[in-house]
């Protein structure tokens, strides 16, 4: 299931650790697999396990421990907003309410068109720039006051309509339609 590009990236991650410690690359390998497929299905995790010579259960344990792995399909764009206290004191509560209303979903839910999944996050180490929104784990958007959020949502919605963003969205759409 993993492309040659992903496999090459995983090999580069393995090379960072002592030769007898391939398992150390599991976090990177799962992130790379998720970037390619949108979320971590069991067959995908099994492939990571084989690649690293780990028992599959050890890979599932890691995938379910860390909050940024998607264990099911998400929308094309996963928006994670930090609502912890320092951010909340700087407008994150309002920003979160605005996003929920704008997208018409609560935390942990995906919009009916499969474009967005909204998540509540914990401190991202960027509190000075609150409110902070993370897009698909990688793009950090700072000072996201309601106007900026509207801009971001419009931009990403257009991108989703062009078929950009995480794959797996079709499955998410199906799931939310049920």
């Amino acid at each position: 299931m993993l492309s040659n590009d992903s496999l090459a990236k995983i090999d580069a991650a393995i090379a960072k650790y002592p030769a007898d410690q391939r398992q150390s690359a599991v976090m990177a390998a799962l992130a790379i697999a998720q970037d390619e497929h949108g979320w971590l299905s069991v067959p995908l995790m099994d492939e990571v396990a084989r690649r690293l010579g780990m028992p599959p259960i050890a890979v599932y344990e890691v995938a379910s421990f860390y909050a940024m792995y998607n264990l099911g399909p998400t929308g094309r764009f996963k928006l994670t907003i930090c609502t912890n206290l320092p951010c909340a004191l700087q407008g994150a509560s309002d920003a979160a309410a605005h996003l929920r209303e704008r997208l018409g979903v609560g935390f942990g839910e995906t919009t009916a068109d499969g474009a967005f999944t909204l998540k509540e996050g914990e401190c991202m180490g960027a509190c000075g720039d609150a409110p902070v929104v993370l897009v698909n784990n990688k793009r950090m958007c700072v000072k996201m006051v309601p106007d900026a959020l509207d801009g971001l949502v419009a931009e990403l919605k257009a991108a989703a309509d062009r078929g950009e963003g995480a794959t797996g969205a079709a499955e998410a759409k199906e799931a939310s339609g049920r």
Partner: protein, 434 residues
């Protein structure tokens, strides 16, 4: 204040963050600022490792990650003549709510950290290091990867560095969203490719660390301070601060201030000065409460804070801890119950679940504070909270249990009337939270 606008403003005392523009993070820029001079001197003059450790001891540098442990002393715990691999590990898993200083070091001055880690490796006889970077800051991780490439290319990393015979390799490890991995042994487990669950101590990492080998873990800011200590001397660094509290410290100021941000000050600077640098309380409101060291540390009321200096010993004397240097400011409109509620939820959410007192206790704390906030508090709830906190503190594998318990106790201790009012009247004493 009057720094030319091209420079990022970390305040007038900045050392680590002086002269940074946000764009001059590359190796060539760092070298121009005197970077890698300390490493070059150590290697060319063949300064003995013991002497490097002694200099760090002299600086009275204390760990910037939370516990404030003396860095030189920690380095001296590493077994000298251990046959085999030893590791230096940097804790850049900055996730303590309110803390955002390591991110600035990593993205604006990454070579200061790299140089500090190489010097640490030399001083402790390690040939390999890992820098564990918080999951949510992908672009910062990428920059750190680029900085490592630069350092390798320039011969500061790799085999036989600058022809000295000393070899050292350094790698970034990217986290993926678990606050507990900031705890040093959870972090080691995580690098080993496991769930980030803290280990029982002892054994301590200096004897059984990464892959079971002797390991020293320090915070990003701790390592990044080392080049200056070597360049200008331990005594110079110590004199920037106060006895037993050497150096400058980056304070992350968040919450109800006009200019949230990072400010680097000499340890021992009055809190009032820091507050002023951050623009004072937002909207000209009155200060109500401050958490001076990250969300895990006890909250202090305004009058206590205004009479306190920002160093490890002064804050401890005032009844809290300097922790990571994250200063969370709350103004007079803030409901203390609501503030505590969000923190209690955080610890419940982030408990790794290994120890019963923490796993169950954090849930209790959160649910009881939640019912007080929502007008369903019971008269006995404050005693209940204190007793749950008692049953967590000191009874867990790692300090996350204490971190969950301490804020609860302190909020109740200093703002008891406000909690009582919530319980008795089902609502807040302050105007609704905006």
């Amino acid at each position: 204040m009057n720094a030319p606008s091209e420079f990022l403003d970390y305040g007038p005392d900045a050392v680590l963050m002086a002269g940074l523009t946000g764009r001059n993070w590359r190796l060539a820029d760092y070298v121009q600022r005197g970077g890698y001079d300390a490493l070059k001197r150590i290697l060319s003059e063949r300064i003995p490792p013991e002497q490097v450790v002694a200099e760090v001891k002299k600086s009275s540098l204390r760990g910037r990650g939370g516990a404030g442990f003396p860095t030189g002393l920690k380095w001296s715990f590493m077994p000298r003549n251990f046959p085999g691999e030893k590791y230096v590990v940097c804790n850049s898993d900055e996730g303590e709510p309110g803390t955002f200083k390591d991110r600035d070091i990593l993205r604006y001055n990454p070579h200061a950290l790299i140089e500090g880690m190489i010097i640490g490796g030399y001083a402790m006889g390690c040939a390999r290091g890992y820098n564990y970077i918080h999951g949510e800051i992908w672009d910062v991780y990428e920059r750190c990867e680029e900085a490592l490439r630069e350092a390798r290319e320039a011969g500061f990393l790799g085999k036989d560095i600058l022809g000295s015979g000393f070899s050292f390799e350094l790698f970034n490890h990217h986290g993926y969203g678990a606050y507990i991995c900031g705890e040093e042994t959870a972090l080691l487990e995580s690098i080993e490719g496991k769930k980030g669950q803290p280990r029982f101590k002892p054994p301590f990492p200096a004897s059984f660390g990464l892959y079971g080998k002797p390991t020293t873990i320090n915070n990003t800011e701790t390592f990044a301070s080392v080049p200056w200590i070597i360049r200008n001397g331990g005594e110079w660094f110590a004199n920037l601060g106060r006895p037993n509290n050497g150096g400058t410290k980056i304070f992350s100021v968040s919450g109800d201030v006009a200019r949230p941000g990072n400010y680097e000050l000499r340890l021992g600077t009055p809190f009032a000065t820091l507050l002023e640098l951050a623009g004072g309380v937002r909207g000209g409101r009155r200060l109500k409460a401050v958490i001076p060291g990250g969300s895990s540390m006890p909250v202090l009321p305004a009058d206590v804070m205004m009479a306190t200096d920002m160093d490890y010993d002064s804050i401890a004397k005032a009844g809290s801890m300097l922790g990571s240097g994250a200063v969370i400011v709350m103004d007079e409109t803030r409901c203390m119950v609501k503030c505590l509620l969000r923190l209690s939820y955080f610890y419940y959410e982030e408990s790794c679940g290994q120890c019963t007192p923490c796993r169950e206790g954090t849930g209790w704390l959160w649910r009881v504070v939640d019912r007080i906030e929502h007008g369903k508090g019971r008269p006995e709830d404050l005693d209940l909270l204190n007793s749950v906190a008692d049953n967590i503190q000191g009874r867990t594998i790692c300090a996350l249990g204490d971190a969950a318990a301490m804020p609860v106790r302190a909020f109740i201790k200093h703002f008891r009337d406000e909690f009582r009012h919530h319980i008795d009247h089902g609502r807040c004493v302050v105007a609704p939270y905006q």
